[in-house]
Amino acid sequence: MRYAFFPGCVSRGGCPELYPAAALICKRLGIDLWEMQGASCTGAGVLQEKNQLLGDTLNARTFAMAEYWDLPIMTICSTCQGVMSQANHRLRNPEYRAKVNGYLAEEGLEYKGNARPKHLLWILIEDYGLDKLAELITRPLHGVRLAPFYGCYLVRPTDALEFADNPERQDSLERLIEILGATVVDFSGKTRCCGFPILTINERNSLAMVGKHTSEAKDLGADAMITPCPLCHLNLDSFQPKAAAQAGREIGLPILHMPQAIGLAMGISPQELGLRRHIVNTRPLMTQLTPAAAH
């Protein structure tokens, strides 16, 4: 299995623990990653505020590069995935695509409309197979209660994300949690907003969202939260102490990147997965893990 790998800015920036964790588990899974060194940022929905056509053109450029390699695209960020899916949804219109291709021609690129960018979470379920993943689980997360937190752009809008054709995307994270041997803590905030996009604009509201979701999961007995979105991770982990202070209560809920949780269940050490880099202490969670079974 080989993918054109689109790691996204945050997995190497604000969450530098994510990129190596994702690369590590992909190696164990036998997934070959060809990193897209020349691909630009998706625009994250922010650039689209100023100029949607420009955002779509940058994403079409990325899609054309993957088409040239004849490889499907893998993302590890809900926001990258959603913005790419939304752009691809619009680019299905041949007239619009021709207009965008007009801009790409000078670089010798053309987007034919065949790219299907997929988040690692969807790849595991749709391409790799959870049964096959289960064979690599040597340290099932038995007794660990995990609350799923998707990130807006991996669940909405459902038409651009092709939920009708892929109904398993609706509860993909819960399915993964169960395969890892952990227990799902279902809570009302799992598909809501983490507040990150307005952190520097309305910090009080942003932190209120962090406080609300982490408190709810914690009060329902979650030992940790798991997210496929590094932007959510930034807010839910790095700003959780500030959110707790604003809410006037203790929270202390570790937030795991999805590949870290998979890596732990594969028996990879917490250090290698970058868990020491988290702001909310992950050590109490590590004491819950059973020793890895011998390979």
Binding site: Q37, G38, K50, Y103, T200, N205, M209, R277
Partner: protein, 322 residues
């Protein structure tokens, strides 16, 4: 078809005011809507169930509620397509508005916000002798926003209003855009600068998190969030740049243009404003914590391969589109 409609009921004026779930097992036609099922319950099973409805054809906007946790019109939602495990459909009142009884909520907050954006044309300058002449194109563009039926589904699921009821919210902001984008509103060039100045303030356009809940909830394709995004561009174009939101958008675009990717290290200070000392200092504890945990973005931001191609696209797309 046999289904169970599980209704979140509440009567705040009764002795036991707390909300509770009540199950109604019943038989409905295969092509019945959720509203058909609720009406059947009220008429044949339990006359005390309260709900609002009128047209039954997604025009009046009366029957917005949460169906399986997602806001929408009960009359536009097929029961057969909404079955959860055990053939159950969960129905709750719309969110972010106080419950009057069962599925009926108080819309005062919704209407107050609509009124707050002054939802009527406000042309500046002398009135034309005859009618205003506008291009077909500009009106076609607005037809998407004027499709709003004021059902409140977007407000129900807005993640910002959930934590801050002072936020103008998706319905009122989309309504405001219907005027800021109307060539008859504002000055001779159709720029509604005064309106945009108001919407640019606290609880206005920049408080939206872009979570897409309103886009998903809207039964009429108004896509309020996309209108809010377009309004932000209008504000920046009208010279309203002195907000953290505008600075954030411009700094983000600049970083992608110059390097091909996002330089997170400079984005925060640029959004807050480089001279905003107290704002910058408030981030110091988080920055120090990130630094001690090895969580800081690289100090020297690397450019992507072939970044000149990205820069060229910024120039070219901007050139032709403006």
């Amino acid at each position: 078809m046999n289904v169970t409609i599980r209704v979140r009921r509440q009567d705040p004026e009764s002795e036991s005011a707390a909300p509770f779930w009540q199950d109604y097992p019943l038989e409905i036609e295969d092509n019945a809507t959720v509203l058909d099922a609720l009406i059947k319950i009220r008429e044949d099973i339990d006359g005390t169930l309260s709900l609002r409805c009128s047209c039954r054809s997604s025009i009046c906007g009366s029957c917005a509620m949460r169906i399986n946790g997602q806001a929408g019109l009960a009359c536009k939602t097929q029961a057969a397509a909404s079955l959860k495990a055990g053939d159950i459909i969960e129905v709750e009142p719309a969110g972010n508005m106080p419950v009057i009884k069962d599925l009926v909520v108080n819309f005062d907050l919704f209407w107050n916000k609509i009124m707050e954006v002054e939802p009527y044309l406000q042309p500046q300058g002398p009135e034309p002798e005859q009618e205003y002449v506008v291009s077909n194109e500009s009106m076609l563009h607005l037809s998407g926003v004027t499709a709003c039926i004021m059902c409140g589904a977007c407000v129900s699921d807005c993640t910002v209003m959930e934590v801050d009821p002072s936020f103008l919210g998706p319905a009122a902001l989309a309504k405001a855009y219907r005027f800021t984008a109307d060539p008859r509103d504002g000055d001779d060039a159709g720029v509604s600068k005064e309106r945009l100045e108001q919407l640019n303030g606290p609880s206005g356009m920049w408080d939206c998190t872009r979570c897409l809940e309103c886009v998903q909830a809207c039964p009429k394709g108004v896509a309020p969030m996309e209108r809010i995004m377009a309004m932000r561009d209008q504000a920046i174009a009208a010279g309203l740049r002195n907000t953290n939101g505008a600075r954030h958008t411009e700094a983000f675009a600049e970083s992608v243009e110059q390097t091909g990717s996002l330089d997170e290290l400079t984005l925060v200070p640029k959004s807050l404003g480089m001279t905003n000392v107290s704002g910058l200092l408030s981030y110091a504890p988080v920055a120090i914590q990130a630094l001690t945990h090895g969580k800081m973005p690289p100090l020297i931001h690397k450019k992507i391969e072939g970044v000149e191609n990205v820069r060229r696209l910024f120039e070219k797309v901007d050139e032709t589109e403006r």
